[in-house]
């Protein structure tokens, strides 16, 4: 009976780690989201945070702004990344992955430095301080574009070329082949790109703070404020829960649960 034991055993440290530092902390968020401090300073079960969030116009606005910025940024990422990935994957060039590296190379530069560089450029052309929303969206696209390029490129590269030949053989033109064969088969790549861009675009407040001149509050920033500035863990946790629901829904919409990590963030980086 000892024989299979040692291999499975290797899982234990990581399982313990996951329980202590992933699952337990997430449960804490749930706990704080649905509790409130009463007059005596004790924690009681409460929906106050939930009601508080949805009855506050400013929080509604933050939610709206976050989702809008995120949707626009994701849209532009797809718009830029798809043709690019298509060109790279279909170029027929043996070293197309070298070319790809050229496009994702900036990813290895620290992202705060990258955003700072962009800030300086926007400052030079006079955008900074004048177009906060535009700047933030540009920043999100700039920062997360590689996360969109990689999965789409990988998916297109995987595409069985005989399928395209079969399509042409059956009488489809180049355009029809693209819309009826290439596009549907590359959608899994687009979907995993969307999940990797959409969520950070709603929460990465480093971008919105740096480029939006601290005038834009997105969900991520709100959570940070409630934790650090207002020391209200309960509301911070509630916003996190709402964020988690949005993440869950977006994954459901893009079939993110079906993907087997193949395209998960950075998996093609090295």
């Amino acid at each position: 009976m000892k024989f299979h034991f040692s291999r499975k055993q290797l899982c234990i440290p990581y399982a313990v780690f996951l329980v202590c530092f992933v699952i337990l902390p997430m449960l804490l968020i749930v706990f704080y989201a649905f509790t409130a401090e009463n007059e005596t300073g004790n924690l009681t079960f409460s929906f106050n945070n939930f009601i508080g969030f949805f009855s506050s116009p400013s929080k509604w606005q933050t939610l709206g702004v976050s989702v809008t910025i995120s949707l626009i940024a994701t849209f532009f990422c797809v718009l830029i990344a798809y043709p690019l990935s298509y060109i790279l994957a279909r170029s027929g060039w043996k070293k197309s992955n070298v070319l790809l590296t050229l496009f994702i190379l900036p990813m290895w530069l620290n992202f705060v430095l990258r955003i700072t560089a962009l800030r300086e450029l926007l400052d030079m052309i006079g955008f900074l301080g004048n177009y906060d929303y535009v700047n933030t969206i540009i920043g999100m696209v700039y920062d997360f574009l590689p996360f969109m390029i990689l999965p789409i490129y990988t998916q297109l590269l995987k595409l069985d070329k005989t399928l395209l030949e079969a399509s042409k053989d059956l009488g489809a033109g180049a355009f029809t082949t693209f819309t009826k064969v290439t596009l549907p088969l590359s959608m899994p790549g687009v979907y995993s790109g969307i999940t990797m861009v959409f969520v950070p675009s709603m929460t990465n407040y480093v971008v919105s703070e740096t480029l939006g001149n601290s005038n834009i509050t997105i969900l991520g920033k709100l959570i940070e404020e409630y934790f650090s500035t207002y020391a209200n863990w309960h509301m911070g946790s509630m916003i996190s829960i709402i964020l988690l629901v949005i993440i869950f829904l977006s994954m459901l919409a893009t079939g993110g649960f079906k993907n087997d990590n193949e395209n998960s963030r950075g998996s093609n980086l090295w």
Binding site: H4, K8, Y14, I29, P106, L113, T116, Y142, V206, I247
Partner: protein
Amino acid sequence: MVKKKKAIDSLSVIYCILVLTFIYAPILLLMIYSFNSAKVIGEEGSFSLKWYIALFQSEKVVTILINTVVLAFIAATLSTILGTAGAIGIFYSKKKVNRVVQIANQIPIANAEIVTALSLALLFSLILLPRTYFSLIVGHLVLCTPFVVTSVLPKLKQMDNNLYEAALDLGATPAQALRKVVIPQIQPGIFAGFMLSITLSLDDYIVTAFTKPKTFDTISTYVYNAVKNASKSDLPLIRALSAIIFLLMIVIVIVMMVKSSSKEEEKR
């Protein structure tokens, strides 16, 4: 037909160049001005290395650089060990355990970084631990280890399961079989996981900000705060810093690519 194809080809090239311009313009601008005496980009100035000199003379910045790199190596090493062992354990576990651990592993990957950061901050606040190097390392492990697991698991799946059995058959103990056969087989995945961990750790701001000790800074937290507090005096230094890091990264990436491509050729 030929004409049409040529037109498409040149359009493709133009498109690629446009995207490259978008991607590289900020970095190039920054690199050019890092060699300029002007404090603010766009201002008049002349060629100068003074920001580079200032950078290396600034004890603060050098410390931060060392902090960042040391943290990345510690986090990557620990998460590689934890994640590789975890992946092997997951792979050989029963279906149920396998699924549960894999789902738990996906949580930090799918989660927004801010939620991960907040959850850890709550944990450390609750058990009344002040933010220490320990909490920072834990934060980075939560960030990196799941990616090590996802890099190693596919290699285990690709591996011929008979290899492990063959090693036992030839007299190796389970531990010897793991060391002499399984680890060498999944080594590319382990390496990829390690490199990915380094990248993630170097790149991180949010989790670091929530778990770091007050007096400790990485490049990310230092630059973010410098920019946010509009300490204009630091910006030229940051330009020089970015230029150095970017060039260093390019060198590393090129070396890695040449190495991996020569390895692939060897295989053929």
